[in-house]
């Protein structure tokens, strides 16, 4: 078998159904083999789109997403997408062509040191030097990408290796002596945690993306209900717990609900599950949750005590640990008074906006929730659109909110939606976008149209790079510097790509437009001309304690 055939056979054995990518000089042998392969290939219009699509596919399906690009510029165009997946611990395998092995280091045409460039943004990467290693490397790559704390793995394959012959040998099992993720929590630590939980009076559960990647959402719900403890989540944890549940406090942190932030600040015990105490969550570190003891459940030991000091660390898979923890909690804590206090905050500081006759972005998001009856998968771009999508749609299931959390990549939402739809064709997929972000990967509308991947794009068009404008308004005396952004006529643009374009300027047009979009057997782009200077509130200024809100109605 040729190297390129070994690659495709290995991908098939890994259960890969779809590859997102772009051809080029140093992947010609792979594309020649693809010609005979039954793996679906989606030709994006930019390699960055391919990386985000693979990422979106992975987030929605839980399987590793695969993207493929040529050497040099093809590979460097993947870089943002790989970094994005790395920051959010998303399983992804990126395959790049490389110049012929004997030319490496010679500044050959379209050569870049891709393993060097991606070293700090991959969980691991490989440069294949011998075709005999290829099958094993692919097997290892998928294993590394999908186990422990998931992440992207890159395989760089010189084009001569793609053409070389070798016997196909698929390793039966995989053992990497230096890579053994801890799966089960230490029983002693779990028992200690259980005792601490029983003794708590003001416990709060703080759930992150790790709950979703380990599939621990049911156990998480059982824990919250067993303890009768309120639960808050990070941006990455959205969907880990039903937002409609009475114990739900919504998201915490910089744009979290006031009651979630008050609750975590006043709590006497934080049970952190698959979350990493990011600065957007903790605000000023030395003021964070001063009365709380912390139990931290995480698969990555380096996440523990990185930002905040933890009393009981439990390293391992969140689901396995929660199962054991549920068994070990003999007596639930008495949380009656605490829940009353929390309920008081909910009444005093509700999540709200001024819903008047104007077309408000929050209203659009609420209507998307209403019209889809909460059954859609939402992707987002980055900025205000992302925060409104996080705040105003009630997610009840994991893998239904797909957003660039750690890296904050504008231009993520549309290609991610494409990947989501490719993985979940039966679902309605909405990209909640801004007029700035959508223009960063707008070319993927063509990919959607050409491949009949019907996604719905809701642009909350305010004529600004809204989140930056908001910061300039609040912290830079309204000196709006380079935040007014012009856009093409999105309706005509959508039409020119072969998609359906709808413009909405009035509140009463929102619902009919959404209904039309969902009914259309096409990719639809809706240009919602929303209130230009609407802000995302509540807001905690960077570097403040997270119960120090400014502005707005919180």
């Amino acid at each position: 078998m040729k190297g390129s055939e070994i690659l495709l056979e290995s991908l098939k054995r890994e259960g890969v159904e779809v590859i997102f990518g772009y051809p080029g000089g140093q992947v010609l042998p792979i594309f020649d083999s693809l010609f005979d392969s039954d793996i679906r290939f989606i030709l994006t219009r930019h390699e960055q789109g391919a990386a985000h699509a693979a990422d979106g596919y992975a987030r929605a399906t839980g399987k590793a997403g695969v993207c493929l690009a040529t050497s040099g510029p093809g590979a460097t165009n993947l870089v943002t997408g790989i970094a994005n997946a790395y920051m959010d611990s998303i399983p992804m395998v990126a395959i790049t062509g490389q110049v012929k092995s004997f030319l490496i280091g010679n500044d050959a045409f379209q050569e870049a040191d891709v393993t060097g460039i991606t070293r700090p943004i991959t969980k691991h990467n490989y440069l294949v030097k011998d075709v005999k290693d290829l099958a094993r490397i692919i097997r290892e790559a998928f294993y590394i990408a999908t186990t422990g704390r998931p992440g992207p793995v890159l395989i760089d394959i010189p084009s001569d290796i793609q053409m070389m012959d070798a016997d196909f040998h698929w390793p039966k099992d995989i053992r990497i002596r230096s890579y053994n993720p801890t799966l089960f929590g230490h029983p002693g630590q779990i028992k200690k945690a259980a005792r601490l939980i029983t003794a708590a009076r003001k416990p709060i559960i703080y759930a992150g993306g790790g709950v979703i990647s380990s599939g621990a959402h049911q156990e998480l719900k059982m824990l919250a209900e067993k303890l009768n403890a309120p639960l808050t989540w990070t941006l990455m944890g959205i969907g880990a717990f039903p937002a409609t549940h009475e114990l739900s406090l919504g998201m915490l942190g910089m744009h979290g609900t006031a009651y979630a932030n008050h609750a975590i600040m006043e709590s006497d015990l934080i049970i952190a599950v698959g979350a990493r105490f990011d600065d957007r969550v903790t605000g000023r570190l030395d003021a964070f949750a001063p009365y709380a003891k912390i139990i931290h459940i995480d698969v990555d030991p380096s996440s523990i005590s990185k930002n905040v000091s933890v009393h009981i660390p439990i390293v391992g898979d969140a689901r396995n640990i929660l199962i054991e923890l549920l068994k070990d909690i003999k007596k639930a804590p008495n949380t009656g008074e605490w829940l009353k206090t929390v309920e008081g905050w909910k009444k005093k500081y509700p999540l709200t906006y001024k819903d008047d006759a104007k077309l408000k972005p929050q209203y659009v998001v609420e209507q998307i929730y209403e019209v889809t009856k909460g059954g859609a998968i939402i992707t987002t771009e980055v900025g205000q659109n992302q925060m409104w999508a996080a705040q105003w749609y009630k997610y009840t299931l994991p893998r239904t909110f797909i957003s660039s959390g750690g890296l904050g990549t504008m231009g993520f939402g549309l290609p991610a939606a494409m990947g989501v739809k490719a993985g979940c064709p039966g679902k309605t997929v909405f990209d909640i976008a801004g007029d700035g972000s959508i223009q960063m990967n707008i070319q993927e509308l063509m990919t959607c149209a050409a491949n009949k991947i019907n996604v719905k794009v809701a642009i909350l068009n305010n004529g600004y790079l809204g989140m930056v404008r908001q910061w300039q308004e609040l912290f830079y005396k309204r000196r709006y510097s380079q935040v007014e952004i012009t856009s093409p006529d999105f309706v005509k643009l959508a039409e020119s790509y072969g998609c359906l374009g709808i413009r909405v300027t009035k509140k009463e047009e929102v619902r009919p437009a959404l209904e039309k979009a969902i009914a259309a057997d096409n990719t639809v782009l809706i240009d919602f001309r929303v209130e230009p200077e609407e802000n995302v509130f509540p807001m905690v200024p960077a570097g403040q304690a997270i119960n120090q809100f400014i502005g707005g109605l919180a």
């Binding site: 700090p120 990497i176 990555d300 030991p301 380096s302 005590s305 000091s309």
Partner: protein, 157 residues
């Protein structure tokens, strides 16, 4: 504060770059680094002296190193028995009057004059950190023109 850690790693190309990259990306400092193959040619051994301002940072350094796929084991010698040595090569001034002084020095330390040409001699010396430090203080009195150090090597005992 300086801490000595050792790594057993896969002996593959790019491993040193991964480790060096981790230090620079996360803002950690390497005071010295020594690498070589072990008895098993598939693995390499690295002795790294790191600067860490507190225990929390040292902990993070170890955890992050452990996360690298090619790192097999991380050993922290801060509280673990070990022997450490460093080799230095130096060019020192070597006038006739220095001869007695140098010979005197090498009566106290493990080292010798390897060669001398005209007014300069090349010397080698081995010792632990304290020995190397005091040796260098004495050599400085002769006038050190050039100094090359291997960095610390450590082995558990």
């Amino acid at each position: 504060m300086r801490h000595t850690i050792s790594l057993l790693v896969e002996n593959k190309f790019g491993v040193l770059a991964r480790i060096a990259g981790l230090f620079s990306a996360r803002g950690y400092n390497i005071a010295s680094l020594a690498v070589s193959e072990t008895l098993d040619p598939q693995t390499s051994y690295m002795t790294i002296v790191v600067e860490a301002k507190d225990a929390k940072i040292l902990e993070q350094i170890k955890k992050q190193l452990n996360k690298l796929i090619d790192v097999i084991t991380v050993t922290d010698y801060t509280k673990k028995g070990h022997i450490d040595r460093e080799l230095i090569l130096a060019k020192v001034k070597y006038a006739a009057k220095d001869k007695a002084r140098l010979e005197n020095i090498f009566n106290k330390y493990v080292g010798k004059i390897i060669q001398h040409k005209g007014e300069a001699a090349i010397i080698e010396a081995v010792g632990d950190q304290a020995q190397i430090k005091s040796l260098l203080e004495e050599l400085n009195k002769c006038g050190v023109q050039e100094l090359i150090r291997t960095g610390k090597l450590a082995i558990s005992n």
